[in-house]
């Protein structure tokens, strides 16, 4: 049976450059002297360290546990001694540093005792199965890094289709391709576990038609399985979850929704293999396949890398960095980000290290004004109007940008790729998104401040009223007589006070009324107070 395929709108065909890294089989990467394991290698909360400096750890030993529902644990990827738990540069577009556990390896690469559970997974309680996957530290290996156990929990939804994503649509990257060629049985074993956990009716594996070897290997391995391998025509960004769902099922995942709401779950093929390792072998996620490619290295290839290995070690293994390298990209040329140094470790989401020379990437050239040609809108897979969005982003009309669905942009880069004016469109969208987030945060802060202010006001008023009531009671009890005289006097004093107050107000001495402040004003005041307090304390300290 030939499955009917659908099309998402737009998309592009950038040059592939994939063959350069598929000439040799996957090789094991060298054991590095030092492993740097960031506590945050996924989407969600950072892991929480459960080891201390000086501890000796074994390969596969858990060294940080998940610290929330959306979180993932981290395991030692080789045996050695913990020498530091400190802030070090992690793979991040801004060159950010974050907490990492540093292990000096002992060269023995000695495993902790491990193995599969006694009962087969088919007989396990599904929540136990999910928990095993969770404690194995498995996150989506396709690039996003969302904790996989969550995506194996349909939370009441009936799952119809489990899709394994072997599309790998970004140029240069071939780690999934090589995995499918060499270890299809692992993927299928993992897929079966995932399908069992989800109780999915059918399971599809999607592969683009630029990977015929992988397709053949998967078909061969699926001969006796109830799994359908689907070849899809090459089109970037087909590997994006919602676009792939559209192609395979014709269904559109709602804008703010998740695929399981329409009965679909998508996992990367690499993740499936990791699930197989975890459940059938009892091995947590401690390594992954990384494509090292680009003209910046002498021998591009795919390496099976221990997590935490510094990228420089991989570049060395691939013949070292050529001097004409222009940038080093983690991920592909369309969505990956350029890194600030090569001492950054490989993490769970590192699918590719692209050492690009100037000829591999597009040298920055002159940016011209938008000529409204609409080429960007034609290729946008989400059907946005990139030319309008960039206009709003640049003129800081963020509300208009949101009205034009800025947050539906998947940052695939198709628009910027085709723009004849060479406008860094995606850059503008990122900027606008960050600004909007910042504003929302500020607004939240201001709301809290306003609430605090209102609360304080009402407390003061309540106290005042209480005091007045107490006073009145007292007065009534003590000075019952002569109160006519007293009242006259008081009235005179009050009148004088009122006059003085009116005069002050007219001169503008009295602070302006603070009841009807906007949140922004309140925020400014709070900020100023905070600053003042800070200077106060610093003065005290000095």
């Amino acid at each position: 049976m030939i499955r009917q395929l659908f099309r998402f709108k737009g998309g592009i065909h950038p040059p592939q450059h994939k063959d350069r890294s598929t000439r040799s089989p996957i090789q094991a990467a060298w054991l590095p002297k030092q492993l740097i394991l960031p506590l945050h290698q996924h989407i969600g909360e950072s892991g929480e360290p459960i080891v201390a400096v000086g501890d000796h750890v074994l390969k596969g030993q858990k060294i940080a546990r998940a610290s929330g529902y959306v979180s993932a644990s981290v395991h030692a990827s080789s045996s050695g001694t913990i020498t530091a738990i400190e802030e070090l540069p992690i793979p991040h577009p801004s060159g950010l540093s974050a907490s990492c556990i540093v292990i000096d390896t002992d060269g023995e690469d000695r495993w902790i005792e491990h193995g599969p559970e006694d009962i087969p997974y088919t007989e396990m309680d599904v929540s136990h199965l999910r928990n095993l996957i969770r404690t194995s530290g498995i996150v989506g290996l396709g690039g996003a890094g969302f904790p996989s156990s969550i995506k194996l929990n349909p939370a009441g939804s009936k799952i119809d289709t489990l899709i394994l994503n072997g599309v790998e649509c970004e140029p240069y990257i071939t780690c999934d391709d090589m995995l499918m060629r060499e270890r299809p049985e692992n993927i299928i074993a993992g897929a079966k576990i995932m399908r069992h956990a989800l109780n999915a009716r059918q399971c599809l594996i999607a592969i683009e038609d630029n990977k015929p070897e992988a397709y053949t290997a998967m078909i061969e391995a699926c001969k006796d399985e109830d799994i359908e391998v689907v070849q899809v025509p090459t089109l970037y960004p087909q590997g994006s979850e919602k676009q792939l769902i559209k192609v395979l099922t014709g269904k559109e995942c709602p804008s703010n929704g998740l695929p399981f709401q329409i009965g679909i779950v998508v996992h990367n093929v690499g993740t499936a293999a990791a699930v197989h390792n975890a459940i059938n072998l009892g091995e947590p996620l401690i390594s992954r396949i990384v494509t090292v490619t680009g003209d910046g290295v002498a021998e591009p290839c795919n390496l099976e890398v221990l997590l935490g290995t510094p990228m420089q070690a991989l570049l060395d293994q691939c013949g070292g960095l050529n001097s004409d390298v222009d940038r080093i990209i983690m991920g592909g040329p369309m969505m990956g980000f350029a890194m600030h140094s090569t001492e950054i470790p490989v993490i769970k989401t590192t699918n590719c290290i692209l050492a690009a020379t100037e000829s591999n990437v597009t040298a920055p050239s002159d940016v011209m004004p938008c000529i409204r040609c609409g080429a960007c809108a034609d290729v946008c897979p989400v059907d946005l109007l990139p030319q309008q969005l960039q206009w709003y982003a640049r003129s800081k009309e963020f509300e208009r940008a949101q009205e034009h669905n800025l947050f539906d942009c998947i940052e695939c880069g198709c628009c910027a790729y085709v723009c004849p004016s060479n406008i860094p469109l995606v850059h503008y969208y990122r900027y606008a998104k960050t600004e909007i987030w910042a504003q929302e945060r500020e607004k939240e802060k201001a709301d809290i401040a306003r609430q605090r202010h209102e609360f304080r006001q009402s407390r003061i008023e309540r106290e005042k009223a209480e005091k007045a009531a107490r006073l009145a009671k007292k007065k009534a009890a003590v000075k019952k007589p002569a109160d006519g005289e007293k009242d006259d006097k008081q009235a005179a004093i009050q009148a004088a006070l009122d006059r003085a107050k009116a005069k002050k107000e007219a001169q503008g001495v009295e602070p302006k009324n603070i009841e009807n402040m906007t949140p922004a004003q309140q925020k400014q005041i709070d900020d100023a107070n905070a600053r003042r307090q800070q200077t106060d304390t610093s003065e005290q300290e000095s």
């Binding site: 950038p14 559109e252 709602p254 960095l321 597009t362 011209m368 897979p381 109007l385 030319q387 995606v426």
Partner: protein, 346 residues
């Protein structure tokens, strides 16, 4: 340590630049221009050369004055395209100052005073054309006869001397060279209550449109189709414009064939084809959403017919395009596409 660059993604860019886009537009105009020159003589080429030189010089001057990078913008090709489109709309052998004023006006007033490339709300070539038509109606409407119909064939030297000094070779009068355009004469003769069959029997009317004009328009059509094939322009505007023009002229034609020209005549005379593929498709001043382009094109087509049939000017593509330019932002706003995942997709 090697210095690493860290620009943000994407790190890839396709081959398309503003210059390549403009070059392709010029290339697509070429067959039409050649046939035009073959039919009407050197005047066509002289117009284009004069307009191009003026446009480039004005562009450079304006960029200089606005302190923009001159070299970068000068060769983006946009000024040349404007110059070519304007030149093609002018009568061949028009006096040199007409061409120069029109091109300079288009570049200065319709382009740079609005902020230059990408910011002009109106199509600069059409602004230049309309300004000339209103200011110099006599010069703008004295068209040459196609060479096959006219009595004389001017050499390059004779053409140049006419363009620059208005002097014709001895024994040749202007009347012998010029002739009303088919649209023009249709309008005049219909005004004289002549029947359509009688009018179109004149030699200036060919099989489809006007004699000579049909071939030029077929060449422009070919160029336009190539642009669609190359994805430089989308099919929406030309199809919508020509479709609506054909439809509305067909309706009137079957109601009263004696008083209204046939759809084919409307499509293949005047600036309909050139306008549909090269002028109304100007991205900067047109609508940019796919649906919006359909409305935009249809608007241009209908307006063209209305102005041609009942307006004061024989051809109407320029006016229609400018009128629709005004509506473009609104059209865009109301024709935003449905975003992926926002309902209605399943």
């Amino acid at each position: 340590m090697i210095k690493l660059n860290t620009p943000s993604s994407p790190h890839f860019h396709g081959p398309s630049t503003v210059t390549t886009v403009m070059l392709k537009v010029m290339l697509a105009l070429l067959p039409g221009i050649l046939i035009y020159a073959w039919m009407f003589g050197w005047g066509v080429i002289i117009n284009i050369v004069l307009a191009s030189i003026t446009a480039l010089a004005t562009e450079a001057l304006m960029l200089r004055m606005r302190q923009r990078p001159v070299m970068m913008y000068l060769f983006d090709g946009s000024a040349l395209v404007t110059a070519m489109l304007l030149a093609l709309a002018l009568p061949p052998l028009a006096p040199w100052w007409l061409v120069v004023i029109g091109s300079a006006f288009a570049i200065i007033f319709a382009k740079h005073l609005y902020g230059g490339l990408g910011f002009n709300p109106f199509n600069p070539a059409m602004v230049g054309y309309v300004m000339l038509l209103i200011s110099f109606p006599r010069e703008m409407t004295s068209w040459l006869a196609p060479l096959s119909l006219g009595e004389q064939n001017l050499s390059l030297g004779q053409s140049l001397s006419f363009v620059f000094s208005g002097s014709l070779p001895a024994g040749l009068s202007l009347d012998a060279l010029t002739m009303a355009t088919p649209l023009d004469s249709l309008k005049t003769e219909l005004g004289l209550n002549k029947a359509m069959q009688e009018i179109t029997a004149s030699p200036i009317f060919g099989m489809l449109g006007g004699t000579g004009w049909e071939w030029i328009n077929i060449a422009f059509l070919a160029g336009g189709l190539w642009l669609i094939h190359k994805k430089i322009i989308s099919w929406h505007v030309p199809i919508a414009m020509l479709g609506s023009l054909a439809l509305i002229s067909f309706l009137f034609f079957i109601i009263k064939p004696g008083a209204y020209a046939s759809p084919l005549f409307h499509l293949f005379s005047g600036g309909a084809i050139l306008g549909a593929f090269f002028i109304a498709t100007d991205p900067v001043s047109g609508a940019t959403t796919p649906k919006g382009r359909l409305y935009f094109g249809a608007g241009v087509g209908v307006l063209t017919y209305i102005i041609r049939s009942w307006g004061g000017y024989p051809d109407a593509v320029a006016f229609s395009v400018l009128l629709m330019n005004m509506a473009a932002p609104t059209i865009d706003y109301y024709t935003r596409p449905r975003v992926f995942g926002h309902g209605g997709g399943n």
